[in-house]
């Protein structure tokens, strides 16, 4: 199998559609026969990142590249950016308003979860310009083959 790439436009603040891209990526991985463990790690990572785009950044673009060894996903938005990344990475830190908390999000666990369940984790962010989050999950655990 050569690598396949899929791109999704994620609309901002649309909670009926939030998770569509992650759900689609998950179905592709299932069809390709990746292990349930690996698929779950990708699903958690992509879903949290997609939700962040929807909640905090007015939407963005998700690009997934799938090869037999790994799934790499880039989340690019042109939202407000993250002023203090160290703070944002802390478990429990959230700027989500009450209406988002009422949906079950805004626990401040998204970024820590994404870091925990991905093998490669990188954020580039600039205030007023946006945020690009790149994650990779290897099929055979933490190390590349």
């Amino acid at each position: 199998m050569t690598a396949i790439t899929r791109t999704y436009q994620v609309p901002g603040n649309d909670f009926a559609r939030a998770g569509e891209a992650s759900g689609h990526i998950k179905r592709i991985l299932k069809e390709l026969g990746f292990s349930p463990e690996m698929i779950r790690r990708v699903a958690i990572t992509t879903y949290e990142a997609e939700i962040n785009m929807v909640i905090h950044a007015g939407g963005g673009t998700v690009t997934a590249t799938i090869s037999p060894q790994a799934v790499a996903v880039v989340f690019e938005d042109h939202g407000p950016g993250i002023p203090d990344l160290e703070l944002a990475m802390q478990a429990g830190w959230s700027t989500a308003p009450q209406n988002i908390r009422d949906l079950g999000f805004g626990a401040g666990m998204g970024l820590p979860n994404i870091q925990k369940y991905s093998d490669v984790f990188e954020i580039k962010t600039a205030v007023g310009q946006g945020t690009t989050l790149s994650v990779t999950i290897f099929a055979e655990g933490k190390e590349p083959i």
């Binding site: 909670f15 009926a16 939030a18 998770g19 992650s22 759900g23 998950k26 349930p36 779950r40 699903a43 958690i44 879903y47 949290e48 939700i51 949906l103 079950g104 999000f105 805004g106 626990a107 401040g108 666990m109 998204g110 820590p112 979860n113 925990k116 369940y117």
Partner: protein, 114 residues
């Protein structure tokens, strides 16, 4: 435990939506913060929650959760049910609140997802 047994224990009435595969269910998680479920790293077969929105179904989809139980008689919308259908997630609604629902399922052998 099968979905039908959960429905009986929690007096939910008929499942809303299709039961896919009807696999044996062994683990559960209960809560109202979806990120906490996702943080668990485990795979709850059953998710009990007082939240009623499409993201509950999405979260179940991500975790391969077979069955979502909406608590305190909160009725899911058509939109939620059709999403559940397309994700292969079975939906139950019970009039019971979280503490009692969890106690009943634990007593019948369902264990925490880790």
């Amino acid at each position: 435990m099968k979905i039908a047994e959960i429905a009986t224990l929690l007096e939910t009435g008929a499942p809303l939506g299709r039961i896919q595969g009807d696999r044996d269910l062994t683990t559960a998680y209960a809560g109202d913060m979806l990120s906490d479920v996702l943080a668990l790293g485990g795979q709850p077969d059953v998710l009990l929650t007082g939240l009623v929105n499409p993201q509950v179904i999405r979260t179940a989809e991500m975790l391969d959760t077979a069955c979502v139980v909406f608590l305190r008689g909160k009725a899911p919308t058509e939109q939620i049910l059709s999403l559940a259908e397309s994700c292969g997630v079975c939906v139950l609604t019970t009039g019971k609140e979280m503490y009692e629902a969890c106690g009943l399922l634990y007593g019948a052998g369902l264990r925490p997802a880790q």
